[in-house]
Symmetry: C2
Subunit: 337 residues, 2 copies
């Protein structure tokens, strides 16, 4: 049985294990600094499908099937799949995973979804009701742009604070035994809304929620940033990650060189013209399910924080003049030493 | 610790308790057969908000706050809220619940979401990481019509197989101790897609998934429909519930007079012109969190099955010629006797 510590952090006593993982990405992501870290790269991001939404669905299928192959598991051995994406009615997840025959639980936490799926996949393990569960999320630049912003053909100018939606997916298999890094603790975030309305500045909208979740974790565990090998935020980008540093510093927590943001890691900032960095469910998912889990598996890192952040807006809410609520969930992954 | 029985059913050994619950509805629902069962009724379904989406958010706020009041609990005492709805990016949930300060986990299972939230709220209790969690879902006729079908002003003719989206919400508080009915078992469904494309016949699209989940539960538990006081499906409506009966009968499971569908219970079929019945996340949520839980609490019923069913489509998927995948999750609620 797990337990609660402090106000809002929990400890998984059964050590839900990350048995294996996989990431798949598009061409632009393959040209970034992590290009050699992904399991599969699709040069043509239509993936020979008839729509971008179907291509995004394929990203999820590929990520899950690759993770299953690497783990030498069949889909029938998986008890639950926790899956989410940014599209209306989580379309990429439902259509990408419908043929797998795995009990399906759709998740929506915007770009925080990867941490949410990891938390829930671990919770059903901790509850004793699952041997293996899968956590998967995706995003696709083209399906996101046309749903949330403009038709690609319009060629809209992007602001300096805008982020670039990652075309990619990541899947992790969580098991109740076995080898590999385990999910030790988690802090599920509350919704925080400080009134940001600029849909081209998601980093600023998400930073207060990110800071709240991270502070809550440090206070509950009585630890400091310097005690972790690495600390990753999901896709705050340049604006959001600087804000996170600032807010934490005011509370006397200094994020040092062991802090990075998946949105800043996935692209070459200058050459790839991504402005404030990468974003989307697929950003933190593909970075987590490639370099982060690989370095944990190799025991280069043994105690890592992964916090994915989401902006819970919809085009409708923005059109109706609403502000952008943020949310962030944090997972602590460790190795047996 | 919970355990798995058969192929796809789990038993919660810690007896997650339904501490309290609340339902809120609109005018049309109040005029139906269950009119006197709801905690709050809003005659003006705009709820004095400036949009239908904001009105739907208010339904969630009202349902959760009413449930908390009835349970004599404060929002700070709740560890997690599992919330979902049908709108793009689960907008009603995020905006309706952002001010509550409860760690938020957005869910999307279309109209199956109420059972999904109940399953997950029970799982975190079973895992020992929650004292109280809330499960809540909503739908609103006007926000759904304009998102999924036509502008209301268009006055489109509805087909005989079409269902009427319920304006309502239901919230249940699940606790790790206390009195009241408890969640004993659950079967989380797989996605089933038999190729139905008619968006005006959701009952037919969902029935195969409903049958698969229910068969799985009966086989895993080695029980028969006649052993339960009542069996409820979410919102299969007339077409879907007849199909469910037929499919189960072929497998030698007869659904008798102890079976009903929330979509058939909430409206007077003839007088209220709802065609095949009610639908929407708010349909099963408001029926479950009113008459079903009330009769369980009074011990009129002591062993009940509640299976919510969802059609995992989006307007985009339909426009792209996709079929409609269905999913259904089943919960067994019991009383100590």
């Amino acid at each position: 049985m797990g337990k609660r510590i402090g106000k809002n952090t929990i400890v998984f006593e059964n050590k839900p294990r990350i048995i294996n993982f996989a990431s798949v990405c598009g061409k632009k992501e393959a040209q970034g600094p992590l290009g050699d870290q992904f399991d599969k790269v699709f040069e043509d991001t239509t993936m020979n499908e008839s729509s971008w939404e179907k291509a995004e669905s394929r990203l999820q299928t590929e990520a899950v099937n690759t993770a299953l192959e690497k783990a030498n598991l069949k889909s029938q051995e998986i008890n639950y799949i926790f899956a989410g994406d940014l599209l209306n009615q989580c379309m990429s997840s439902a259509f990408g995973l419908r043929s797998l025959g795995i009990p399906f639980l759709g998740q929506f936490g915007a770009c925080s979804t990867m941490a949410q799926t990891l938390f829930l996949a671990s919770s059903v393990i901790e509850a004793g009701i699952s041997d293996y569960s899968v956590a998967v999320t995706s995003s696709h630049y083209c399906s996101s742009e046309r749903q949330f912003r403009f038709p690609l053909q319009y060629g809209g100018q992007r602001t300096p604070t805008a982020q670039w939606t990652v075309t990619g997916a990541g899947a992790a298999i969580i098991g109740n035994s076995g080898e590999g890094p385990y999910i030790s603790k988690a802090t599920v975030g509350k919704i925080v809304d400080l009134g940001i309305k600029d849909v081209n500045n998601m980093g600023a909208a998400m930073a207060p929620a990110a800071a709240k979740t991270m502070l809550s974790f440090f206070e509950d565990t009585k630890t400091h940033p310097s005690e972790y090998d690495m600390i990753f935020s999901g896709d705050l980008g340049e604006v959001g990650s600087n804000l996170l540093r600032e807010i934490l510093l005011k509370e006397s927590y200094r994020l040092g060189d062991n802090y990075n943001d998946c949105g800043l890691m996935i692209y070459h900032k200058e050459e790839q013209d991504v402005h404030a960095g990468g974003s989307g469910c697929g950003c933190s998912a593909s970075v987590f399910c490639s370099i982060i889990l690989r370095k944990l598996r190799e025991k280069t890192w043994n105690n890592v924080l992964f916090m994915a952040t989401g902006a819970l807006m919809s085009p409708t809410s923005c059109q109706q003049g609403e502000t952008i609520p943020g949310v962030a969930h944090l997972i602590n992954i460790r190795n047996d030493l």
